[in-house]
Amino acid sequence: MPKKVVSIIVFPGSNCDRDLAIAIQKHLNVKTEYIWHNEAKIKHHEMIFIPGGFSFGDYLRAGILATKSPAIKEVINFSKKGVPIIGICNGFQILTECKLLEGSLLVNKNQLFICKDIFLKIENKKSIFSKNIKKDILKFPIAHGQGNYYASKDSLKKLEDNEQVIFRYCSNKGSVKNKNNPNGSLNNIAGITNKKKNILGMMPHPERAISDKSTADGNIFFEGLKELL
């Protein structure tokens, strides 16, 4: 049987595309195809990824300039058809800027870029992305300057009520406190879905945690996506 194909959208300035492809191939028994941002057609849309990096230099607001690329129009079309879409880091920023996900990612509270390992609590396993994750706490690196999740009071309440929050920053034991919040995100939010729960955005980088000695939890995350394909 020919392998299924997962699409990864690449913008000028993306820099996690290669590592994402490696992680996907390692776990999902699929091929990956890079879609250059200027392409108006996405041939393979069983699943779409938007990788991390600095699309268009992250100028103006991280992610905004990328939302004007033709490929994003396609992403929006497919999102309506229920295609699973995952945006990581810059991908998350792009998804909020094109309004596929609620809220916005502001400059980190300490105004600095932050690169370190953090712990993530899996808040609920009711989404297609989280239901097969075989652990309750994951350790991933973060590396971003704008990861401070913000949403208005109303939308935040809706997000929580509708169980759209998937990941929260926590301690190694899973406690979600202010001191485990690296960037000032409201409610320690690190990853959310849309209302229909076919789109996931997250700041931490599972694709950077698949072979390193300090954390290999990315493998668990990608294994959990198997059923989707």
């Binding site: 820099n15 996690c16 870029f113 690169c115 950077r208 390193d212 000695k213």
Partner: protein, 727 residues
């Protein structure tokens, strides 16, 4: 054309003798454009006129060297068809004027030097020197520089994985920002800068040319005065996004067999890049300056030739690949234009609106560039032995680990993306050298930056040799085979005899150590005139060492486990002069510890072989450098959040010497089994002694002396930066 006045010549930093030389070369008066070109080509920065004579003496070959100094970066062989391309470069003056942009563009420049040669950058490091923390400018310089380095490398997507940061009042008005980049290339896919083929097109690609940093290269060759701080046009703004596009598009074109020669436009921009390419290939060059993409209106040929706008490259392309090349650049959204072609005239001919505006012979200009044997003389030191207080051992330790130079650099390195590209195995806080895996293999490389300016100031030759030895030792301690170095020689004004003396001595010291350790110099950079109001920096020859790790299993870091025993390897004499301990006691006099290269080599080879043959017995490894034995042990505890018990030496009368002496050629080995180790050390006649044992304790215990809770050590270690940047 306007006649050239004495004042104009002087403003271009050209001496009378040099001007006469120009007249001899072109057999007429130069016009302003030509004078400008001479001035940048013959500036200290581009011509190395004060140091060339001495740099030539450095050992530059070795069994792994593919390309030594003379190209954009050095290249070494790391087996299996792979090679490493690396170099270090300074951006000291620009970073003092505008720390954020200065540091950022420094990182951009060194990455271009590396990817010009066909390599993909895989690691960035930086070596930083700031003034006294109490100096009013230090804080904003530190915050600006670190953010600039981080933002640039992060955006391009290259991990910044190591470096050093040191504060001393000698850098109050002359900070040092040295950036190093290491790239990976296939041995048969290396690109050089030698232009070839009459008629071949010259392609310009990258940012549009603006009026940025015109005379930047000559600025780097002139001593600062107070006015310099208002010097506006010198500042160049970096665009890491364009850099990323340049990197990716060049990599794409390099796969196409289109490029004959390629060179980044660094210092002295279009001038030096076109001259160097043509001169290497003994070609002539014709440039149509009106074709150069410009950002500003009405730019003159002079401005176009001398601009230092960042993120630009020049390449000679095979004529039949021109269309394809331009298409690739277009796909990446970059400005790419044919601005001229190669000729057989041997001249550089510059046209603007169809008129010839300058013509200079290429070979003579390069070959006859000035080379000075500047007078050098040792400065007599008046030894003032001040009285100073003797601080108790545990106070001294706490003071050290909570002071600016030995505090945790977390505040710095958390701003650097270290995990991008997924191959960082250790960043420099986890091991003596930063370690990055060669993608998709079981090989890795180790990289380190070192210099002890305190030693170099007292004895530049010995201090510089120690720098090389320390770099070598760091690589061995991390489990690597040392291969080669790049160096960045930061000094004051070479026209002063005592500074010239420092420079010559320092190069001698580097040569001595490199020769002995078979550790060649494959690239480097010189930054002179780091001097303000007659106050020079300490001599700061930064050494960037690179080593190879055959199997990632052989990597060693700062790891310790319960019940491990820790041994010191090498002789301890208790040399306290110029040590960190003496400095915190207020005593800054003396000489550096002696360095016996024979013993250095012997100890290093022993450790290297032991790690290779008996790696299973070794939990971790750490070299002993400034701060001595006790600081090295404390660093292990802090890094592992574990306690240990430290033994007293036989001679308890000289405890301070034992714990804080900075004798060279020593390592700490953390062993989980010791019998084989003792036997082999004895056989090799290597001096060893057991110094500590990792016990089940939350304390840092010095037998019969004191104990400090590890939590307290960590808290002290983490406090300085937070307080300093947050006040």
């Amino acid at each position: 054309m306007s006649k050239i006045s004495k004042e104009v010549i002087e403003n271009h930093g050209i001496s009378l003798a040099e001007f006469n030389m120009i007249l001899k070369i072109i057999k007429r008066e130069p016009n302003l454009l030509e004078l400008g070109i001479f001035s940048v080509m013959w500036s200290e920065h581009c011509s190395y006129k004060s140091t060339k004579k001495w740099l030539k003496t450095l050992p530059t070959s070795g069994k792994r060297v593919i390309c030594g100094p003379g190209e954009n970066a050095g290249i070494v062989d790391i087996d299996d068809g792979d090679a490493l391309v690396f170099k270090m470069e300074s951006h000291n003056h620009p970073s003092f004027i505008e720390p954020y942009q200065g540091a950022a563009t420094g990182v951009g420049g060194i990455m271009r030097d590396v990817f010009t040669m066909g390599a993909r950058p895989i690691a960035n490091l930086n070596s930083l020197r700031f003034g006294d923390p109490k100096h009013p400018k230090t804080k904003s310089l530190l915050t600006g520089v670190v953010k600039g380095i981080g933002d640039y490398g992060n955006c391009v997507g290259i991990p910044t994985i190591g470096g050093e940061c040191f504060f001393h009042k000698c850098y109050n008005n002359n900070i040092l920002v040295n950036a190093m980049c290491v790239g990976l290339v296939k041995k048969n896919k290396i690109f050089y800068s030698t232009a070839k083929g009459v008629g071949n097109p010259i392609i310009y690609v990258g940012s549009k040319t603006g009026r940025d940093g015109i005379h930047g290269a000559t600025m780097a060759s002139a001593e600062f005065d107070d006015k310099t701080q208002d010097n506006r046009p010198q500042v160049q703004v970096g665009d890491p996004f364009i850099e990323k596009l340049l990197l990716e598009s060049c990599q794409e074109i390099m796969k196409q067999d289109a490029i004959i020669a390629i060179q980044d436009m660094g210092a002295a921009g279009l001038t030096s890049s076109s001259f160097e390419m043509a001169s290497k290939g003994s070609c002539g060059v014709k440039l149509n300056l009106d074709k150069v993409p410009c950002r500003e209106e009405k730019m003159s040929p002079y401005e176009i030739m001398l601009s230092e706008t960042q993120e630009r490259m020049l390449m000679i392309i095979k004529p039949n690949k021109k269309k394809l090349t331009l298409e690739v650049f277009k796909k990446w959204g970059l400005d790419a234009v044919e601005i001229g072609n190669l000729t057989d005239s041997g001249d550089m001919e510059l046209f603007f609106n169809k008129k010839m505006v300058g013509k200079l012979p290429i070979k003579p200009l390069a070959d006859m560039s000035p080379e000075y044997n500047r007078p050098a003389k040792k400065l007599k030191k008046n030894k003032l032995k001040k009285k100073y207080k003797d601080i108790p051992i545990h106070h001294a330790l706490l003071k050290m680990i909570s002071g600016p130079n030995h505090s945790s650099k977390k505040w710095i390195y958390e701003q650097y993306d270290r995990s991008v590209m997924g191959d960082t195995l250790m960043s420099s806080e986890q091991s003596d050298a930063a370690i990055v895996r060669i993608h998709d293999t079981n090989k890795a490389i180790a990289i380190t930056c070192d210099c002890n300016p305190i030693f170099c100031n007292s004895d530049p030759k010995l201090g510089s040799a120690i720098g090389v030895a320390e770099s070598w030792r760091n690589l061995i301690a991390s489990g690597a085979e040392p291969i080669a170095i790049t160096d960045n020689l930061n000094f004051g004004n070479p026209e002063k005899e005592h500074i010239m003396f420092q420079i010559k001595e320092s190069i001698k010291g580097i040569k001595m150590a490199c020769d002995y350790l078979k550790f060649p110099v494959v690239s480097g950079n010189v930054s002179l005139y780091n001097e303000t109001k007659k106050k020079s920096i300490f001599p700061t020859p930064v050494i960037g060492g690179v080593g190879l790790i055959n199997k990632t299993e052989n990597i060693k870091g700062f790891k310790i486990n319960l019940d491990d025993k820790i041994f010191i390897i090498g002789d301890s004499y208790g040399h306290l002069e110029l040590s960190e301990y003496n400095r915190i006691c207020g005593n800054n006099d003396g000489t550096p510890p002696p360095l016996n290269l024979k013993i250095e080599y012997k100890n290093g080879m022993f450790v290297k072989k032991f790690l290779k043959d008996y790696g299973d017995l070794v939990t971790g490894c750490h070299d002993i450098s400034d701060g001595g034995l006790l600081l090295a042990l404390a660093e292990l505890c802090i890094s592992n959040k574990k306690g240990m018990k430290i033994k007293l030496p036989k001679n308890t009368k000289k405890l301070k010497e034992w714990f804080f002496g900075e004798d060279q050629s020593r390592y700490l080995l953390v062993l989980n089994s010791t019998d084989d180790f003792k036997r082999i050390a004895k056989k090799n006649k290597v001096k060893i002694s057991e110094v500590a044992i990792v016990e089940n304790t939350d304390n840092f215990i010095v037998e019969d002396n004191f104990k400090i809770p590890i939590k307290k050590l960590i808290k002290y270690n983490n406090s300085w930066y937070k307080k300093f940047v947050d006040i």
